[in-house]
Symmetry: C2
Subunit: 446 residues, 2 copies
């Protein structure tokens, strides 16, 4: 009988092994993909692509062992043996003088790369980049984008664990429709009508009744019909929801603390990618908070712009609010609070001092909404009353109302669009740049 | 202008604050839900439910401040002030002698709990428990189940980060269908035909070409028509995929090491829940691995059972294989390797020494499949040939085949059913017990 006992020690090493040990002059074995081959007439550079970065290998003669440089192809994966040689001009400050090559796999016969992935920046249209996404992501700059995104999610989770939040996994196939409106995907579910979840709203509130504080980082689905630079039909929502709050300000405080942790984490754990992408990490220690109506008035005055609709914020107004707080307070972020009730869902708590407004907020980052949050109604009577006032039938929401009926703490929470916050952090112009495999009205593949 | 600066210090404290500091005889302020009230004639116990556990509060007179014990209701949330008093018979070894109560919220008027959530174990049918899930989860034992599940996912991720895996987020709305078969949910997507992803298979392989090693913990969707104790229509799949492998054994080694880490992590970080649920953490340092055909022969001989179909494993056979390896090797786990090609998907690599079988495996845990994994075909020519041999049109998979065309390292991976592994760890009889909000043929709510 064979037994599986866990990881075996292997001869093959990684870039970090070379950097953290003094292996100068030593022989090492590495594996990687042939990223590019450069013929220098006297010798050739074979640049290996590994998850950590690039490794310059020097192919001194025509042949190394039995492999001829003429037969080596970009896109092959190889195992190389060679001596570590310090070289300041090489990535990571070293190169490998090859003494042995073993080909592990090869691309299809007689194919060439449709885009030059080894270039620093892919100078192709977004359309081409997305159509060739499986290959385009092999570009060093492209893949750094999604390492940064990984870092944001890791830090989000780590911070919330430290604040006693519990991670939950809520269903994506649902019977009801939390956010209202028409932008919901319909599904056939064994003869029943079902939807894809637009948000984990009902479930995260439910779980506050169980664990006091919860979070989830998971996909949500919106059947938005407009193809804009900031909308996706499937995106990752970073949600948290917390009980026993004194007011919706507690939620903003938690988000500000979380964001500070995230950017600190990126500066430490993702320093390589932060540098590679030239990211300036924003300051979140002092984020201005302004009422919705006041924000509208401020930009209307400063930028001489008429207020068309006092109950809605147009994307252009968001941009101007972002500009105002950058100019006046040097802040990339601004909390806009007290959104009008008619623009917020039925579970939003109205401001008791003026019920035309809600105890809610958006967070704008460089002039774009990246978070929506607020306090929720927690009593059964208030929630039923607001549903009825909106012409909704509480009987349609009996599972949800179960939590209010049997007692909920004062609570609230928020949802953050992961792809959007990544987009603004990287100063990208289109959210598809920071979405691994975007889904929009016209794009369902790859 | 107001500014948000991060977390504010609050007077309210948590159970862990009391346990980690010596607060005996000190006055503290706590918030929680009224879990149960017990009238002891001379005084009353008011038991608070908090995310960390229960707190026994002693309500000495009829009234504390202005709140009468007669008006205090289960399901209310309250803020209490009182003195910490050591009491061995109370949860966590202390109680609070109340001097002040403030009611934060109340349940609906004239309602009572439909199930006794403060009982140690809910002695109701699974059907009732699931219908009342939003409330039933407030039971201390029920919520411990999903803390354990949180711990499994955390440890899965932490271990893989330490092994240089990158976390990816792949789309759940897809155009193609990786696993084949009829069990796929259809979706209307702006006039196009779309599906819910049965697995992240194509995308995780794609991302191996980018990051060498990747993982994802996310929902997958299977339109299984059979309502069994082990099937769900939506579940969480813990997937990883790794490049530059020497063989599929590397994947089993990685899984065994990961599982050891998971159970070690649970014993340290979730000791309270492990104890509360009476979990015996299994040993994974020495997992037997047996060929599919050999496993069938062994149980056929030992348990005197005819082999009906040499190319398939029935659930009953899985149970017997689990029993065999428990009896013969005292192992809760067994890897079954070399599954027949006709039972594995088109991307599975055949065993070159006998192409009727594949370089693949399942992991059985107490007689149930909890993982499916294996090596994948990495060359374009081999992948196209296997598709054609199966009557598939490679043109339907051009986006997927892009990765093989332009070069992939030898690679493989696996998918683990989170709810199933939790179920077997807890010795539950139905996977719905370990699913937060299960989706099955007849259950779409809550």
């Amino acid at each position: 009988m064979e037994f599986v006992k866990g990881l075996k020690q292997k001869e093959v090493i990684e870039i970090s092994d070379i950097l953290s040990n003094d292996l100068k002059g030593k022989e090492v074995v590495l594996r990687g993909a042939v990223h590019t081959i450069r013929d220098m007439s006297e010798f050739s550079f074979v640049v290996l692509r590994k998850y950590e970065g690039l490794v310059q290998c020097v192919f001194v003669n025509d042949k190394v062992n039995n492999v001829s440089i003429k037969n080596l192809r970009e896109g092959s994966t190889i195992e190389v043996k060679g001596m570590v040689h310090p070289e300041d001009r090489a990535p990571n400050g070293f190169e490998i003088i090859l003494s042995d090559i073993k080909v592990l796999s090869e691309p299809a016969k007689e194919t060439t790369m449709p885009i030059p992935i080894s270039k620093w920046k892919l100078n192709t249209s977004l359309e081409t980049k997305l159509s060739l996404r499986p290959i385009a992501l092999r570009n060093v700059r492209e893949r750094a984008i999604f390492k940064i995104q990984e870092g944001i999610v890791r830090a989000f989770r780590d911070f919330l664990y430290s604040q006693h939040f519990t991670e939950v996994r809520t269903p994506k196939i649902v019977a009801g429709n939390a956010e209202g409106g028409a932008n919901v995907f319909k599904l056939e579910y064994f003869g029943k009508k079902a939807f894809l979840a637009q948000s984990p709203q009902f479930y995260k509130q439910t779980m506050v009744g169980v664990y006091d504080r919860v979070f989830e980082a998971a996909p949500v689905f919106r059947a938005e019909k407009h193809n804009t630079t900031r909308h996706l039909n499937e995106y990752t929502s970073l949600d948290f929801e917390m009980g026993y709050i004194d007011g919706f300000e507690d939620i903003m405080d938690m988000e500000a603390a979380m964001l500070s942790y995230v950017f600190e984490f990126l500066s430490k754990e993702y320093a390589k990618e932060v540098k590679l992408l030239g990211i300036t990490l924003p300051d979140t220690s002092n984020i201005p908070a302004v009422r919705f109506d006041e924000a509208k008035r401020l930009v209307s005055e400063k930028y001489d712009r008429k207020i068309k609709n006092p109950y809605d914020l147009e994307p252009e107004e968001e941009v101007l609010i972002g500009r105002y707080f950058k100019e006046e307070f040097n802040s990339d972020f601004v909390f806009v609070t007290h959104y009008p009730s008619k623009k917020r869902p039925f579970y939003a708590m109205d401001d008791p001092s003026d019920t035309k407004f809600t105890l809610s907020f958006d967070l704008l980052f460089k002039g774009m909404e990246v978070t929506t949050g607020g306090q929720r109604i927690h009593t059964y009577e208030d929630q039923v009353a607001k549903m009825v006032a909106r012409g909704m039938d509480p009987a349609d929401f009996s599972d949800y109302l179960m939590i209010h009926k049997h007692g909920m703490p004062p609570h609230g929470g928020l949802g953050i669009g992961l792809e959007r916050i990544t987009m603004k952090l990287l100063d990208e112009q289109n959210v598809r740049e920071t979405t691994l495999f975007p889904r929009d009205v016209s794009r369902l593949e790859p």
